[in-house]
């Protein structure tokens, strides 16, 4: 479903070349559950953003269903994300001036879904993550755990086949973190592909397999 072929990413930082990812080869099949671990700055988030069509590689190809993502225009990649890929961020990235309900409605708005269906679907999803009574709360009126659950509900709005999670429990207390991980397990059990970047070995252990990155190179789990 998702494949990286000889992918490298180099940055220039203050005139010095930095290699974020080096000759990475990864294959993620449909229904897979992959965790990506490694020390800070080893290129985990870079790998995740590249898989999501958000960051073009310096070399190599990233394929989604055998289609080279970075041979497409940015708008075509956005269309693929809208339909097939859901992002979960460490900092939740909720829109601060919208309510929980409206935040969940964003992907539906982008997909051109009518308002009535948007409302109905957002209510269902928020009820599923246990926030059926917080529909009209803004992010600032919710706890961090609740904010991450709103973000998870938002990810599911367009029913994506792939979920890319960047340290989803990084900002959460252990109990809330466990709830979020259980939720990701549940989503994988439903048949969705999950790729999760994490520092937490216990979280990584819940995945079916783990990729280890060190200094931009995948050292095990390919």
């Amino acid at each position: 479903m998702l494949r990286m072929e000889g992918v490298s990413k180099n940055y220039n930082h203050r005139s010095a070349a930095v290699t974020a990812l080096s000759d990475a080869n990864v294959a993620v099949d449909r229904g897979d559950y992959v965790s990506v671990v490694g020390p800070s700055g080893c290129g985990k988030s870079t790998l995740l953003l590249m898989l999501g069509g958000m960051l073009s590689p310096t070399r190599g190809r990233v394929l989604f269903d055998d289609e080279s993502l970075y041979d497409l225009s940015p708008d075509q990649r956005a269309a693929i994300r809208k339909k097939h890929i859901g992002f979960v961020f460490q900092t939740f990235n909720l829109v601060p001036y919208l309510t929980a309900m409206e935040n969940v409605q964003i992907p539906l708005l982008l997909a051109g879904v009518d308002e009535q269906t948007q409302t109905q679907r957002a209510e269902e999803l928020l009820a599923r993550v246990g926030l059926g009574d917080r529909l009209d709360h803004k992010p600032s009126e919710l706890s961090v755990g609740q904010q991450q659950r709103v973000a998870l509900a938002r990810v599911l709005a367009n029913d994506p086949a792939i979920i890319l999670a960047d340290e989803p429990t990084g900002n959460l207390d252990p109990d809330t973190g466990t709830q979020v991980l259980s939720f990701l397990d549940e989503l994988n059990a439903e048949g969705r592909t999950v790729v999760m970047v994490t520092h937490d070995p216990q979280a990584a252990a819940r995945a079916k397999r783990t990729l280890h990155l060190v200094d931009g190179a995948i050292v095990s789990g390919e």
Partner: protein
């Protein structure tokens, strides 16, 4: 949820930051609406004043002097009456009124008065209409008769005659008499007056003007011609010409049409209006330029800051699948709403200011002009959209990854 909901919510969330840009465009539009509104009514008032002054072009015999004509309203040289028909049936634009006249001194009961023959407008109007051509069959766009304007004084029939020497209808045995003639002879409307062996019925006593008109008797031109046994001749044609057309060479056109006549214009009066109109137009242009610069710069500055502040949100929307068009629309819609609010608000306040302060500043009555709301919204939205274009394009081209890494 619709895109406009998202834009609306963001505007209210950060309304304090938006206030300065809104004020810049709002006050700018207020100023331009107020100036336009006052200018419109000021121009109409000036036009009405000019109209009240009477003719601004004179067609005289070649040998006649303008000074003599104005001081005594008489000269011995004559023009053929056919000149009136030529003028009225010509295709010259900007002729609002024609008033041919023939005057003579009449001694009666030991006193001197002026008998002036005038041609009622209905007579040459019907001639040109019958011919299907000429000045009175053309639509008056911009020029032409001064339109009735609410709040601006409209003269009565008698006043029109005194000022413009134009009357719609006048029967062969009817006469209108000046205030002094009426007082000295003890005449009033409905009385009879005998002059040169002809008895006229007094149909109106004209108001006091302090000019030679007070000792004048107006009668039908053809009756006066017949009494003087002079045939179809006149002393002068007084013309009310449209000021813009006078500046555009109306006098030269009449000269070309009537080469044997002397055509002169009351240039000072015309120049006054042209100068006033020009000044108002320049003032409006200056304000428009200031609004475009100050309002546009303020909006552009705000939009750039807004894009910078929202780059994480933009990156998130892109990660969720928003394309560049969607991001572009989001910021342009915000510019549109800002422009709409500035335009409507500026129209309302500008109109209020014009109606309130117009009478004090320009000494004229000013009424609201609904058409200005179209101008106000057009200018305001245009400036807001232009100022938002580059920031919106920058937003649409943001690198979503960079937005996550920076913050």
């Amino acid at each position: 949820m619709k895109l406009k909901t998202l834009v609306w919510r963001e505007i209210f969330e950060r309304r304090n930051q938006l206030a300065t840009s809104f004020l810049a465009i709002f006050l700018g539009i207020t100023a331009i609406v107020a100036i336009k509104n006052i200018t419109f009514y000021s121009e109409k008032a000036v036009a009405r004043e000019l109209d009240a002054l009477g003719a601004n072009i004179l067609v005289l015999p070649k040998a006649a002097s303008v000074q003599d004509y104005y001081s005594a309203d008489m000269q011995t040289d004559e023009l053929p009456e056919e000149y009136v028909t030529r003028l009225s049936m010509s295709d010259i634009e900007g002729l609002d009124n024609l008033s041919p006249k023939l005057s003579t001194r009449v001694e009666t009961e030991g006193r001197s008065l002026t008998l002036t023959g005038i041609l009622p407008k209905s007579e040459f109007q019907s001639k040109s209409a019958w011919a299907g051509a000429g000045i009175f069959t053309r639509p008056a766009e911009g020029c032409g008769e001064v339109a009735d304007v609410p709040g601006v004084f409209k003269p009565t029939v008698k006043e029109t005659l005194v000022r413009k020497r134009v009357i719609e209808d006048l029967a062969p045995d009817e006469a209108l008499i000046g205030a002094d003639v009426a007082a000295l002879r003890g005449l009033k409307e409905g009385d009879s007056l005998a002059l040169l062996g002809h008895t006229f019925k007094v149909t109106a006593v004209l108001p006091q003007t302090g000019t030679v008109d007070d000792s004048r008797v107006f009668a039908h031109l053809h009756t006066v011609q017949s009494l003087l046994d002079k045939g179809s001749v006149i002393n002068a044609i007084e013309v009310v010409g449209c000021c813009q057309e006078i500046s555009a060479g109306l006098v030269e056109k009449i000269n070309k049409l009537l080469p044997d006549a002397k055509v002169v214009t009351v240039t000072q009066v015309v120049d006054t209006q042209v100068r006033t109109n020009g000044m108002m137009a320049r003032l409006s242009t200056i304000f428009l330029a200031i609004i475009a610069l100050v309002g546009g710069a303020s909006i552009a500055n705000y939009m750039y800051a807004n894009v910078f502040e929202r780059r994480r949100e933009i990156g998130t929307l892109m990660a969720l699948g928003a394309g560049s068009t969607m991001i572009l629309k989001m910021f342009l819609l915000k510019g549109l709403l800002l422009g709409l609010a500035g335009g409507v608000g500026g129209y309302v306040l500008g109109t209020l200011l014009a109606v309130t302060f117009g009478p004090r500043l320009a000494g004229i009555t000013v009424m609201p002009m609904p058409i200005l709301i179209v101008w106000a919204i057009g200018i305001s939205v245009g400036i807001a959209l232009l100022a938002s274009c580059l920031p919106a394009r920058n937003a649409a081209r943001l690198d979503p990854c960079a937005t996550f890494q920076e913050i």
